[in-house]
């Protein structure tokens, strides 16, 4: 696809005029290009030569990319966004490019090199590339994005030739971004919910496609995480934890309560444990301990036996069974699995 719009530059200000003739400043490099950098003196890029080199890299690259294709255009936007971030915080910038190695990747690696050796480019690709560049790593995408680390990257760029919908971006990609990081991609605009459009940097390429830079914050990550298998599992585990916590609050009071009050509390507790057991049954194949399910059932059984007893001596026996099974469940949940109980 040939794009008719382009990026303009005037004295170090890079401006994009969108399809509605609205101007967006993508990068204001006036100060840095005029050696009035606000970047800390502890950073390498300070001297005139470095600045000249940086200008050279940017202009050469933008020139190379000025081939009128949509892919090149989007990559130009991505590069300017990276620089914008680097100018603000040029330290420990961890960038993930999802897609094969290209001249864009080489350009980013060169820019990172100028800004210090803690900036790093990760390239998620299946291409077999042998490069000996210290600030570049390749991640195999044989398993897709499933194994991406959590909260690792400052910025992720999905470098694919066509516009994609937001829903096609895996949860792991969102979760791999640090709080305050951003996700860049060429988007089918209709797939972006309005509340995100309001918060994002949107560069309209046409009425349907836009280059989107989506800011990622912890609340958004929480919402996304809860929709992942792992997030759902954690949520279910949390529900179980709540019922166990409720039981722990009453367990030592039971023997000292009047019959009516004890039965009232027990009925509520048993209902909650029954619901939790259903959750355990649903997730038991995901649990590290195969004993949680049977012990949970035995805890429920002991509670029911205790509730049904009129005889004081028998009730004491079943109370001991409740305690015994409660300890077993706690042990399996906390030491053999990763339920967070804090009891």
């Amino acid at each position: 696809m040939i794009v008719l719009i382009s990026i303009g530059q005037e004295n170090g200000r890079f401006i994009f005029t969108d399809c509605n003739d609205k101007e967006h400043v993508l990068l204001d490099a006036v100060d840095i290009f005029n050696n009035r950098s606000k970047i800390s003196v502890k950073r390498p890029i300070q001297l005139g030569n470095d600045i000249l080199l940086l200008k050279d890299i940017i202009f050469s690259y933008l020139h190379i990319l000025n081939d009128g294709t949509l892919v090149s255009f989007v990559r130009s936007l991505a590069l300017l966004s990276i620089l914008d971030k680097l100018f603000q915080k040029p330290l420990n910038f961890q960038f993930l490019q999802i897609g094969g190695w290209s001249s864009f990747s080489g350009c980013v690696a060169n820019v990172f090199d100028l800004f210090g050796n803690k900036n790093h480019l990760y390239c998620l690709t299946n291409d077999k590339i042998s490069l000996d560049i210290s600030n570049v790593s390749f991640i195999s995408d044989e398993l897709g994005t499933d194994l991406l680390p959590n909260s690792k990257f400052s910025m992720v760029f999905i470098d694919v030739p066509d516009a994609i919908s937001l829903s096609s971006v895996s949860a792991e990609v969102f979760l791999s971004l640090k709080d305050g990081g951003s996700l860049m991609f060429m988007a089918d605009l209709h797939s972006i919910p309005k509340f995100l459009i309001d918060k994002s940097q949107i560069s309209l390429i046409n009425d349907r496609v836009a280059f989107v830079s989506l800011p990622i914050h912890s609340e958004l990550k929480d919402v996304i995480f809860k929709q992942t298998d792992l997030g759902k599992l954690k949520l279910q585990k949390q529900q179980v934890v709540e019922s166990i916590k409720n039981l722990s609050k009453i367990i030592n009071k039971l023997e000292f309560l009047s019959n009516d009050k004890r039965n009232f509390l027990l009925d509520d507790t048993i209902s909650s444990i029954v619901e939790s057991e259903k959750i355990i049954v649903n997730i038991y194949e995901e649990l590290n301990s195969s004993y949680i399910k049977p012990y949970f059932n035995e805890l429920k059984e002991a509670l029911i036996d205790y509730r049904l007893q009129d005889n004081d001596n028998m009730r004491k026996i079943f109370f001991e069974k409740i305690l015994d099974n409660f300890r077993k469940v706690l042990y399996e949940m906390t030491y053999k699995d990763d339920f967070v109980l804090n009891i």
């Binding site: 057991e277 259903k278 049954v281 649903n282 038991y284 194949e285 195969s290 004993y291 399910k293 049977p294 059932n297 035995e298 059984e301």
Partner: protein
């Protein structure tokens, strides 16, 4: 979910349907398969029905004396199709379908029942031992079994070992519902220990290889001089195939030739159907013993023995810990181990405090 459909007279229906086309016997009416529906009838007003195939209504003495109210309906033949047809035709009345054992035949029965009564409940009492549980646990891979089990509202095992095993294997809650005992004859258990005598009792089908009564007799003989004041009583009818019965009788002839002095101390009573008379035997015995090589699940007889204050000695079957409350009211010994059983008998019989504490 649809609301439960009640019978015209406002009662609900609990139906126990067999996996095969046979009938129940009189003794089974006071085992779980009869007690559970009877209790639903007696305590909750259910209509409790047990459809069977027989030429004519079998003779069930317990029906009149102990479990009055259980109903039997005769099926025209013993085919699976007939049992399925029966379930479909009576689905409106069947609020609870009770099944014993995890058998293939139940798969279509439950399938059709749930089609007609999606709100109806199915109780599957697996009542199985570990080899059966291990064999059946893999059937979950079969889609029809997966569907069948997921349509059962309550799945139960009768002993902790198999329950825990199935709970770890299957993605369902498997409940522990032990085979209970019902005091049908309203026997009084007051002043129980004053009535106890030095009797080691077993109640079972006598002579069937599964029960290993040869081991019981040989062991009693081996320690008879160490427990001189004790008697052994075996209650039950001689059972098993003709060959098994013949073999056991040969064994007995040989046994009493070798240990003729024990004839006065060993008694075979035959079957005692009268529950009051049987309860008296349990009440008199200090020790109840089971030497089985295996059991289907938890032995039904244990509940009665425990209720009668007997100290339990049981071979290491799957339900052994359930029978002895993990050693609190009895002892176990390795299956078929004569030496271990001899030592156990000597130790228990000569320790009255242990018997009183356990019983």
């Amino acid at each position: 979910m649809k609301e439960a459909i009640y019978l015209k007279d406002g009662r609900r229906g609990a139906y126990v349907v067999r996996s095969d086309g046979g009938s129940w016997n009189n003794q089974q009416l006071l085992k779980d398969c009869g007690i559970i529906p009877y209790m639903l009838h007696k305590n909750h007003g259910f209509r409790a029905v047990m459809p069977i195939y027989a030429d004519k209504m079998p003779d069930f003495p317990y029906l009149e004396t102990y479990v009055k109210g259980l109903e039997f309906e005769l099926l025209p033949d013993d085919t699976l199709e007939t049992r399925i047809k029966y379930i479909c035709e009576h689905s409106e009345d069947i609020d609870l379908l009770i099944l014993y054992g995890a058998y293939n035949q139940y798969i279509p029965m439950v399938h059709y029942y749930k089609e007609y009564r999606p709100d109806g409940k199915v109780y599957l009492a697996t009542d199985m031992n570990m080899p059966w549980a291990e064999a059946i646990s893999y059937t979950y891979d079969l889609p029809e079994w997966r569907d069948f089990l997921s349509q059962c509202d309550v799945i139960a095992a009768s002993c902790r070992k198999t329950q825990r095993y199935l709970n770890m294997k299957w993605p369902f809650s498997v409940e522990l519902i032990r085979n209970g005992w019902y005091n049908a004859a309203n026997v009084s258990f007051d002043d129980l220990f004053a009535q106890k005598e030095n009797i080691i009792l077993t109640v079972a089908r006598i002579g069937v290889p599964q029960k290993n009564h040869e081991l019981l007799l040989e062991t009693f003989a081996a320690c008879s001089y160490d427990i001189p004041n004790w008697r052994l009583k075996l209650i039950g009818e001689f059972s098993g195939s003709e060959e098994e019965q013949l073999n056991f009788k040969k064994f007995l002839n040989d046994f009493f030739t070798r240990f003729s002095h024990l004839k006065d101390r060993i008694e075979f009573t035959g079957l005692i159907e009268d529950k009051l008379a049987l309860a008296e035997e349990f009440k008199k015995a200090k020790i109840f013993i089971l030497t089985s090589n295996f059991e289907g699940g938890a032995p039904n007889v244990i509940g009665e023995a425990l209720h009668s204050g007997c100290y339990i000695i049981v071979s290491d079957i799957d339900a052994a810990d359930d029978c002895t409350d993990e050693g609190r009211c009895g002892s176990t010994f390795p299956i078929g181990d004569k030496l271990a059983l001899t030592n156990t008998l000597k130790h228990v019989c000569n320790n009255n405090d242990l018997i009183l504490g356990g019983g």
